[in-house]
Symmetry: C2
Subunit: 194 residues, 2 copies
DNA sequence: GTCTATATAGTGATAGAC
DNA sequence: GTCTATCACTATATAGAC
């Protein structure tokens, strides 16, 4: 479906794919449009035909990736019956995503969006994150999770995961994340279960 | 002691202080040396007399702040007798630091150091973080913490805190963090206690 | 120590041919 | 749709006076 899943022949997708790779390896601000041009093997003119400017490349990236992740989260929630199973499946999904597409996770979770896309309207939340919070709230309401403020329950459940992903991305964790899932999930759930 | 604690008359400290403020509000890459010049009310020439280049400003910032934080962590560890009390005090410290000097915490924890300071030698770890990890390992060894891999225990204990700080910095948490300390600490400790 | 003025290079973005 | 050539600007960094 998305530009990052196939090494697209489609030129627009190739631009996006290349941009994401470079944003990850060099950082957004150190990546020039000329860098993208060179690596994607297209012309400057073509890039500016598809995207108004560099920021719009980042915005497109953000939107398309967010959409994909959100869809998966929805599916996971639909396929699992309770908060425990849902959250665990979500964690497994993010871990696998990090192994398969590290540059994608880096961009969507750890990029400084306000800095990169100042003109975008408050995306910092992200649809997926909102959906996850709703699921947690439901768990609190029905007693699966002990009565915590939502603002605390979220970080309690997923803070460890987020930190592990970050450490993995900067090379400070050697183990593939899925191999740590059982252990970190056990911790996360102990933190919030009644 | 440090440049950020007093609104220094010292010009070098004023440059550092101003740079940190701007790195936080605009981001490192969108802050030009001329911006720093203007806000700090000094000349370009003076900035380049004290610092080789823009990156060295960031490095100095990182080093001096790290040093301060590390010293505090050492003190906290010395003043508390066990892992539980030490880690809780560390969490309280970071929360208070975030309220008092948000731009400092933002820079030291969430800046993309590899991107900003590519020529610096592997600072991503940070002395303070290493020290904290040692304290956790000690807790695992003496049975205060259940037998977890260190790579999992760290994020389990402090992942929630880190995430809360991040959310607070981007304005998605309204409550002052110290008011959430009891609740998040309870979660953190439940996650790792035997 | 502190300043102003300037060199240099690279970046985002456009124009216009094919 | 796709390309090349080029503009206008900004930013880093230096030179050299006081």
């Amino acid at each position: 479906m998305s530009f990052y899943k196939s090494s697209s022949k489609n030129r627009r997708d190739r631009i996006l794919h290349t941009a994401l790779k470079l944003f990850h390896s060099k950082g957004y601000f150190k990546t020039s449009v000329h860098d993208i041009r060179e690596q994607a093997d297209v012309s400057i003119g073509l890039i500016y035909r598809y995207f108004k400017n560099k920021e719009e490349i980042a915005q497109t990236l953000y939107q398309e990736i967010s959409e994909d992740i959100f869809a998966t989260i929805e599916t996971i929630i639909a396929q699992n019956a309770n908060t425990h199973d849902r959250c665990r499946a979500i964690m497994a999904y993010y871990f696998q995503l990090t192994e398969d597409f590290p540059e994608l996770v880096d961009f969507i979770i750890f990029a400084r969006h306000k800095e990169i896309m100042p003109s975008a309207v408050s995306i910092c939340a992200g649809k997926a994150l909102t959906r996850i919070r709703e699921a947690i709230q439901e768990g609190i309401n029905n007693g699966e999770i002990r009565p915590l403020a939502l603002v605390v329950a979220g970080p309690s459940l997923f803070g460890g995961m987020t930190r592990l992903i970050q450490l993995r991305l900067i090379g400070m964790v050697q183990e593939p994340l899925p191999s740590l899932l059982d252990e970190i999930w056990e911790s996360a759930w102990r933190a919030v279960k009644p």
